[in-house]
Subunit: 211 residues, 2 copies
Protein backbone atom coordinates (compact mmCIF):
# COMPACT_ATOMS: atom_id res chain seq x y z
CA UNK A 1 0.00 0.00 0.00
CA UNK A 2 1.08 3.53 -0.65
CA UNK A 3 1.95 5.80 2.28
CA UNK A 4 2.33 9.57 2.55
CA UNK A 5 5.36 11.29 1.06
CA UNK A 6 6.38 12.56 4.47
CA UNK A 7 6.31 9.04 5.92
CA UNK A 8 8.29 7.72 2.95
CA UNK A 9 10.96 10.40 3.45
CA UNK A 10 11.13 9.43 7.13
CA UNK A 11 11.60 5.82 6.08
CA UNK A 12 14.57 6.73 3.92
CA UNK A 13 16.26 8.56 6.76
CA UNK A 14 15.45 5.72 9.15
CA UNK A 15 16.96 3.18 6.74
CA UNK A 16 20.17 5.20 6.49
CA UNK A 17 20.39 5.54 10.27
CA UNK A 18 19.67 1.87 10.91
CA UNK A 19 22.19 0.81 8.27
CA UNK A 20 24.78 3.17 9.74
CA UNK A 21 24.48 1.60 13.17
CA UNK A 22 24.20 -1.99 12.01
CA UNK A 23 27.16 -1.69 9.63
CA UNK A 24 29.35 -0.35 12.43
CA UNK A 25 28.20 -3.15 14.70
CA UNK A 26 28.56 -6.09 12.34
CA UNK A 27 30.33 -4.88 9.21
CA UNK A 28 28.97 -4.50 5.69
CA UNK A 29 28.87 -8.22 4.99
CA UNK A 30 27.36 -9.02 8.38
CA UNK A 31 24.17 -7.04 7.76
CA UNK A 32 21.50 -8.05 5.24
CA UNK A 33 19.00 -5.83 3.47
CA UNK A 34 16.27 -7.66 5.40
CA UNK A 35 18.02 -6.78 8.69
CA UNK A 36 18.10 -3.10 7.84
CA UNK A 37 14.50 -3.03 6.64
CA UNK A 38 13.29 -4.98 9.69
CA UNK A 39 15.08 -2.53 12.01
CA UNK A 40 12.82 0.18 10.58
CA UNK A 41 9.70 -1.96 10.51
CA UNK A 42 9.66 -2.55 6.75
CA UNK A 43 10.15 -5.60 4.54
CA UNK A 44 13.19 -6.06 2.31
CA UNK A 45 11.30 -5.15 -0.86
CA UNK A 46 10.70 -1.61 0.34
CA UNK A 47 14.44 -1.05 0.51
CA UNK A 48 14.69 -0.84 -3.27
CA UNK A 49 12.26 2.05 -3.54
CA UNK A 50 14.85 4.11 -1.63
CA UNK A 51 18.21 2.73 -2.76
CA UNK A 52 19.37 1.11 -6.00
CA UNK A 53 21.58 -1.48 -4.31
CA UNK A 54 23.37 -2.41 -1.10
CA UNK A 55 26.61 -0.97 -2.50
CA UNK A 56 24.94 2.39 -3.11
CA UNK A 57 23.63 2.40 0.44
CA UNK A 58 27.10 1.60 1.82
CA UNK A 59 28.67 4.49 -0.03
CA UNK A 60 25.96 6.91 1.12
CA UNK A 61 26.19 5.72 4.72
CA UNK A 62 29.96 6.15 4.83
CA UNK A 63 29.85 9.60 3.29
CA UNK A 64 27.13 10.73 5.69
CA UNK A 65 28.78 9.23 8.77
CA UNK A 66 32.18 10.80 8.12
CA UNK A 67 30.53 14.05 7.08
CA UNK A 68 28.79 14.26 10.45
CA UNK A 69 32.09 13.58 12.20
CA UNK A 70 33.79 16.30 10.21
CA UNK A 71 31.06 18.79 11.06
CA UNK A 72 31.36 18.01 14.74
CA UNK A 73 35.15 18.39 14.68
CA UNK A 74 34.91 21.70 12.82
CA UNK A 75 32.28 22.94 15.25
CA UNK A 76 34.64 22.04 18.08
CA UNK A 77 31.94 22.23 20.76
CA UNK A 78 33.78 20.28 23.46
CA UNK A 79 37.46 20.63 24.30
CA UNK A 80 40.18 18.33 23.03
CA UNK A 81 40.66 16.66 26.42
CA UNK A 82 36.97 15.83 26.70
CA UNK A 83 36.87 14.44 23.20
CA UNK A 84 39.88 12.22 23.81
CA UNK A 85 38.34 10.93 27.05
CA UNK A 86 35.12 10.10 25.25
CA UNK A 87 36.85 8.49 22.28
CA UNK A 88 39.02 6.28 24.47
CA UNK A 89 36.26 5.34 26.91
CA UNK A 90 35.07 1.83 27.68
CA UNK A 91 31.65 3.04 26.59
CA UNK A 92 32.96 3.78 23.11
CA UNK A 93 34.74 0.43 22.93
CA UNK A 94 31.52 -1.38 23.75
CA UNK A 95 29.15 0.77 21.75
CA UNK A 96 30.22 0.22 18.18
CA UNK A 97 26.88 1.15 16.65
CA UNK A 98 26.97 4.76 17.85
CA UNK A 99 30.75 5.11 17.72
CA UNK A 100 33.41 6.20 15.28
CA UNK A 101 32.61 4.91 11.78
CA UNK A 102 36.24 5.04 10.70
CA UNK A 103 37.33 2.74 13.52
CA UNK A 104 34.38 0.41 13.06
CA UNK A 105 34.59 0.04 9.29
CA UNK A 106 38.11 0.84 8.09
CA UNK A 107 38.98 -2.84 8.17
CA UNK A 108 36.04 -3.69 5.94
CA UNK A 109 36.51 -0.77 3.64
CA UNK A 110 39.88 -1.89 2.37
CA UNK A 111 38.09 -4.84 0.80
CA UNK A 112 35.03 -3.07 -0.61
CA UNK A 113 34.38 -1.86 -4.12
CA UNK A 114 36.02 1.22 -5.49
CA UNK A 115 33.09 3.63 -5.16
CA UNK A 116 32.80 2.90 -1.44
CA UNK A 117 36.55 3.15 -0.95
CA UNK A 118 36.69 6.46 -2.78
CA UNK A 119 33.79 7.84 -0.74
CA UNK A 120 35.55 6.81 2.44
CA UNK A 121 38.95 8.06 1.42
CA UNK A 122 37.69 11.43 0.22
CA UNK A 123 35.67 11.96 3.37
CA UNK A 124 38.45 10.86 5.71
CA UNK A 125 40.89 13.14 3.92
CA UNK A 126 38.57 16.06 4.67
CA UNK A 127 38.29 14.82 8.26
CA UNK A 128 42.07 14.81 8.61
CA UNK A 129 42.25 18.37 7.37
CA UNK A 130 39.62 19.38 9.90
CA UNK A 131 41.57 17.72 12.69
CA UNK A 132 44.82 19.28 11.53
CA UNK A 133 43.17 22.68 11.87
CA UNK A 134 42.64 21.99 15.55
CA UNK A 135 46.36 22.34 16.16
CA UNK A 136 47.80 25.86 16.24
CA UNK A 137 48.06 26.71 12.59
CA UNK A 138 51.31 28.63 12.74
CA UNK A 139 53.35 25.85 14.31
CA UNK A 140 55.21 23.71 11.84
CA UNK A 141 54.34 20.04 11.72
CA UNK A 142 50.76 20.70 12.83
CA UNK A 143 49.39 18.27 10.30
CA UNK A 144 51.86 15.56 11.30
CA UNK A 145 50.86 15.91 14.93
CA UNK A 146 47.17 15.82 14.02
CA UNK A 147 47.71 12.64 12.06
CA UNK A 148 49.68 10.93 14.84
CA UNK A 149 47.09 12.06 17.35
CA UNK A 150 44.37 10.54 15.20
CA UNK A 151 46.39 7.39 14.61
CA UNK A 152 46.81 6.85 18.36
CA UNK A 153 43.12 7.35 19.15
CA UNK A 154 42.06 5.19 16.29
CA UNK A 155 44.60 2.40 16.81
CA UNK A 156 43.91 2.17 20.54
CA UNK A 157 40.15 1.94 20.03
CA UNK A 158 40.40 -0.78 17.40
CA UNK A 159 42.94 -2.79 19.39
CA UNK A 160 40.88 -2.44 22.57
CA UNK A 161 37.88 -3.77 20.71
CA UNK A 162 39.79 -6.82 19.48
CA UNK A 163 40.55 -7.79 23.07
CA UNK A 164 38.44 -9.91 25.40
CA UNK A 165 40.51 -9.29 28.51
CA UNK A 166 39.18 -6.16 30.26
CA UNK A 167 42.51 -5.56 31.99
CA UNK A 168 44.37 -5.49 28.69
CA UNK A 169 41.67 -3.33 27.17
CA UNK A 170 42.02 -0.74 29.94
CA UNK A 171 45.81 -0.79 29.66
CA UNK A 172 45.57 0.06 25.97
CA UNK A 173 43.04 2.85 26.52
CA UNK A 174 44.98 4.39 29.39
CA UNK A 175 48.36 4.20 27.69
CA UNK A 176 46.91 5.97 24.66
CA UNK A 177 45.18 8.60 26.80
CA UNK A 178 48.43 9.40 28.58
CA UNK A 179 50.29 9.67 25.30
CA UNK A 180 47.65 12.07 23.98
CA UNK A 181 47.31 14.16 27.11
CA UNK A 182 50.91 14.59 28.16
CA UNK A 183 53.16 16.21 25.59
CA UNK A 184 56.58 14.80 24.95
CA UNK A 185 56.09 11.23 26.01
CA UNK A 186 59.05 9.31 24.68
CA UNK A 187 57.90 6.54 22.39
CA UNK A 188 60.88 6.67 20.07
CA UNK A 189 63.95 4.49 19.85
CA UNK A 190 65.00 5.03 23.42
CA UNK A 191 66.11 1.47 24.03
CA UNK A 192 68.94 1.47 21.54
CA UNK A 193 70.29 4.88 22.41
CA UNK A 194 69.66 4.84 26.11
CA UNK A 195 68.32 8.36 25.90
CA UNK A 196 65.14 7.77 27.79
CA UNK A 197 66.13 8.00 31.43
CA UNK A 198 67.87 11.34 30.90
CA UNK A 199 65.06 13.01 28.95
CA UNK A 200 63.47 15.88 30.82
CA UNK A 201 59.98 15.29 29.51
CA UNK A 202 60.25 11.66 30.53
CA UNK A 203 61.11 12.58 34.10
CA UNK A 204 58.24 15.04 34.10
CA UNK A 205 55.85 12.31 32.96
CA UNK A 206 56.99 9.90 35.63
CA UNK A 207 56.53 12.39 38.44
CA UNK A 208 53.03 13.11 37.23
CA UNK A 209 52.16 9.44 37.26
CA UNK A 210 53.06 9.03 40.88
CA UNK A 211 50.63 11.66 41.92
Amino acid sequence: MKISKAASARHRVALLDAASGLFRERGFQGVSIADIAAAVGLTHGAFYTHFTSKEALCAEVMEQAIGKLETRVRAGTSGRRKRVEAYLSVRHVENRAAGCPVAALSGDIAREQDDIRTAFSGASDRLFEAMAMEEPAETPGARDRAIVSLVIRFGALVLARATTDPKLRDEILNAAKRALMEPGIPIGDTAGKGVFSTTRTAARKQSRHRK
Copy 2:
Protein backbone atom coordinates in the same frame (compact mmCIF):
# COMPACT_ATOMS: atom_id res chain seq x y z
CA MET B 1 41.77 -41.78 -3.64
CA LYS B 2 44.07 -42.12 -0.70
CA ILE B 3 47.47 -40.42 -0.72
CA SER B 4 50.58 -40.89 1.41
CA LYS B 5 50.64 -39.71 5.01
CA ALA B 6 53.48 -37.32 4.24
CA ALA B 7 51.52 -35.72 1.40
CA SER B 8 48.45 -35.43 3.61
CA ALA B 9 50.48 -33.71 6.33
CA ARG B 10 51.83 -31.31 3.71
CA HIS B 11 48.25 -30.59 2.61
CA ARG B 12 47.28 -29.66 6.16
CA VAL B 13 50.15 -27.20 6.44
CA ALA B 14 49.39 -25.82 2.98
CA LEU B 15 45.73 -25.32 3.89
CA LEU B 16 46.71 -23.39 7.03
CA ASP B 17 49.16 -21.23 5.08
CA ALA B 18 46.72 -20.53 2.27
CA ALA B 19 43.95 -19.70 4.75
CA SER B 20 46.29 -17.43 6.68
CA GLY B 21 47.09 -15.39 3.59
CA LEU B 22 43.58 -15.34 2.15
CA PHE B 23 41.99 -14.38 5.47
CA ARG B 24 44.36 -11.43 5.81
CA GLU B 25 43.64 -10.39 2.25
CA ARG B 26 39.84 -10.68 2.25
CA GLY B 27 38.74 -11.30 5.85
CA PHE B 28 37.16 -14.41 7.33
CA GLN B 29 33.82 -13.92 5.66
CA GLY B 30 35.38 -13.05 2.32
CA VAL B 31 37.06 -16.43 1.91
CA SER B 32 35.19 -19.68 1.31
CA ILE B 33 36.31 -23.22 2.13
CA ALA B 34 36.39 -23.88 -1.61
CA ASP B 35 38.74 -20.90 -2.11
CA ILE B 36 41.17 -22.22 0.47
CA ALA B 37 41.07 -25.77 -0.88
CA ALA B 38 41.47 -24.57 -4.47
CA ALA B 39 44.53 -22.49 -3.49
CA VAL B 40 46.20 -25.76 -2.46
CA GLY B 41 44.90 -27.75 -5.41
CA LEU B 42 42.23 -29.67 -3.50
CA THR B 43 38.45 -29.73 -3.55
CA HIS B 44 36.31 -28.42 -0.70
CA GLY B 45 35.48 -31.91 0.59
CA ALA B 46 39.10 -32.62 1.46
CA PHE B 47 39.08 -29.69 3.84
CA TYR B 48 37.00 -31.60 6.38
CA THR B 49 39.51 -34.42 6.71
CA HIS B 50 41.89 -31.81 8.19
CA PHE B 51 39.63 -29.41 10.09
CA THR B 52 36.29 -29.86 11.79
CA SER B 53 34.86 -26.52 10.67
CA LYS B 54 35.71 -23.11 9.28
CA GLU B 55 35.56 -21.66 12.79
CA ALA B 56 38.14 -24.18 14.03
CA LEU B 57 40.42 -23.26 11.14
CA CYS B 58 40.07 -19.55 11.90
CA ALA B 59 41.06 -20.04 15.52
CA GLU B 60 44.06 -22.16 14.57
CA VAL B 61 45.18 -19.71 11.89
CA MET B 62 45.02 -16.75 14.28
CA GLU B 63 46.90 -18.55 17.02
CA GLN B 64 49.61 -19.70 14.63
CA ALA B 65 49.97 -16.30 12.93
CA ILE B 66 50.32 -14.36 16.16
CA GLY B 67 52.56 -17.07 17.60
CA LYS B 68 54.95 -16.64 14.69
CA LEU B 69 54.94 -12.88 15.22
CA GLU B 70 55.68 -13.31 18.90
CA THR B 71 58.58 -15.65 18.16
CA ARG B 72 60.04 -13.17 15.71
CA VAL B 73 59.73 -10.30 18.17
CA ARG B 74 61.34 -12.34 20.97
CA ALA B 75 64.14 -13.42 18.65
CA GLY B 76 64.71 -9.75 17.84
CA THR B 77 66.80 -10.49 14.76
CA SER B 78 66.56 -7.06 13.18
CA GLY B 79 66.75 -3.77 15.04
CA ARG B 80 63.76 -1.74 16.15
CA ARG B 81 64.35 0.94 13.52
CA LYS B 82 64.42 -1.61 10.72
CA ARG B 83 61.28 -3.28 11.97
CA VAL B 84 59.42 0.02 12.16
CA GLU B 85 60.53 0.91 8.63
CA ALA B 86 59.31 -2.43 7.34
CA TYR B 87 56.02 -2.27 9.22
CA LEU B 88 55.22 1.21 7.98
CA SER B 89 56.33 0.62 4.40
CA VAL B 90 54.17 0.98 1.31
CA ARG B 91 55.01 -2.65 0.60
CA HIS B 92 53.36 -3.71 3.84
CA VAL B 93 50.32 -1.55 3.15
CA GLU B 94 49.85 -3.19 -0.23
CA ASN B 95 50.75 -6.74 0.75
CA ARG B 96 48.05 -7.70 3.20
CA ALA B 97 48.41 -11.45 2.68
CA ALA B 98 51.97 -11.64 3.99
CA GLY B 99 51.58 -8.78 6.47
CA CYS B 100 50.62 -8.28 10.09
CA PRO B 101 47.68 -10.51 10.99
CA VAL B 102 46.58 -8.27 13.83
CA ALA B 103 46.25 -5.26 11.53
CA ALA B 104 44.58 -7.28 8.79
CA LEU B 105 42.03 -9.07 10.96
CA SER B 106 41.43 -7.14 14.17
CA GLY B 107 38.41 -5.47 12.61
CA ASP B 108 36.88 -8.82 11.74
CA ILE B 109 37.79 -10.46 15.00
CA ALA B 110 35.63 -8.20 17.11
CA ARG B 111 32.65 -9.75 15.35
CA GLU B 112 33.70 -13.40 15.39
CA GLN B 113 32.71 -16.15 17.78
CA ASP B 114 34.11 -16.37 21.27
CA ASP B 115 36.67 -19.13 20.68
CA ILE B 116 38.32 -17.15 17.88
CA ARG B 117 38.22 -13.96 19.92
CA THR B 118 39.76 -15.68 22.90
CA ALA B 119 42.49 -17.23 20.76
CA PHE B 120 43.28 -13.81 19.33
CA SER B 121 43.17 -11.98 22.63
CA GLY B 122 45.35 -14.50 24.45
CA ALA B 123 47.91 -14.49 21.67
CA SER B 124 47.99 -10.72 21.32
CA ASP B 125 48.38 -10.35 25.07
CA ARG B 126 51.51 -12.51 24.86
CA LEU B 127 52.65 -10.45 21.89
CA PHE B 128 52.28 -7.25 23.90
CA GLU B 129 54.36 -8.71 26.70
CA ALA B 130 57.05 -9.64 24.20
CA MET B 131 57.06 -6.12 22.77
CA ALA B 132 57.11 -4.60 26.24
CA MET B 133 60.28 -6.57 26.92
CA GLU B 134 61.97 -4.78 24.05
CA GLU B 135 61.99 -1.60 26.08
CA PRO B 136 64.61 -1.30 28.83
CA ALA B 137 63.10 -3.36 31.59
CA GLU B 138 64.19 -1.23 34.50
CA THR B 139 62.60 1.99 33.27
CA PRO B 140 59.11 2.59 34.64
CA GLY B 141 56.30 2.80 32.14
CA ALA B 142 58.02 0.43 29.72
CA ARG B 143 54.83 -1.45 29.06
CA ASP B 144 52.89 1.75 28.47
CA ARG B 145 55.44 2.87 25.91
CA ALA B 146 55.41 -0.51 24.23
CA ILE B 147 51.65 -0.34 23.95
CA VAL B 148 51.63 3.18 22.52
CA SER B 149 54.40 2.23 20.13
CA LEU B 150 52.35 -0.74 18.96
CA VAL B 151 49.18 1.35 18.76
CA ILE B 152 50.89 3.88 16.50
CA ARG B 153 52.32 1.27 14.13
CA PHE B 154 49.08 -0.61 14.01
CA GLY B 155 46.79 2.41 13.67
CA ALA B 156 48.90 3.97 10.93
CA LEU B 157 48.99 0.77 8.89
CA VAL B 158 45.25 0.19 9.09
CA LEU B 159 44.42 3.83 8.30
CA ALA B 160 46.89 3.86 5.41
CA ARG B 161 45.18 0.78 4.01
CA ALA B 162 41.76 2.40 4.18
CA THR B 163 42.97 5.23 1.98
CA THR B 164 42.97 5.38 -1.81
CA ASP B 165 44.99 8.57 -2.11
CA PRO B 166 48.72 7.68 -2.23
CA LYS B 167 49.69 11.13 -0.95
CA LEU B 168 47.51 10.78 2.14
CA ARG B 169 48.77 7.24 2.65
CA ASP B 170 52.39 8.39 2.65
CA GLU B 171 51.61 11.26 5.01
CA ILE B 172 50.15 8.82 7.53
CA LEU B 173 53.08 6.42 7.25
CA ASN B 174 55.70 9.15 7.52
CA ALA B 175 54.03 10.94 10.42
CA ALA B 176 53.88 7.66 12.35
CA LYS B 177 57.49 6.81 11.51
CA ARG B 178 58.69 10.16 12.80
CA ALA B 179 56.68 9.76 16.00
CA LEU B 180 58.21 6.32 16.55
CA MET B 181 61.77 7.24 15.65
CA GLU B 182 62.17 10.55 17.41
CA PRO B 183 61.61 10.46 21.15
CA GLY B 184 59.58 13.14 22.79
CA ILE B 185 57.49 14.30 19.87
CA PRO B 186 54.71 16.41 21.35
CA ILE B 187 51.36 14.97 20.46
CA GLY B 188 49.65 15.99 23.66
CA ASP B 189 47.31 18.86 24.41
CA THR B 190 49.74 21.52 23.27
CA ALA B 191 47.15 23.72 21.61
CA GLY B 192 45.24 24.56 24.77
CA LYS B 193 48.27 25.15 26.94
CA GLY B 194 50.52 26.73 24.41
CA VAL B 195 53.37 24.59 25.66
CA PHE B 196 54.52 23.33 22.33
CA SER B 197 56.71 26.07 20.98
CA THR B 198 58.67 26.30 24.22
CA THR B 199 59.23 22.57 24.63
CA ARG B 200 62.85 21.56 24.25
CA THR B 201 62.09 18.27 22.56
CA ALA B 202 59.87 20.08 20.13
CA ALA B 203 62.61 22.45 19.14
CA ARG B 204 64.97 19.54 18.78
CA LYS B 205 62.53 17.78 16.50
CA GLN B 206 62.09 20.82 14.30
CA SER B 207 65.80 21.36 13.84
CA ARG B 208 66.18 17.74 12.83
CA HIS B 209 63.50 18.10 10.23
CA ARG B 210 65.21 20.95 8.52
CA LYS B 211 68.32 18.91 7.95
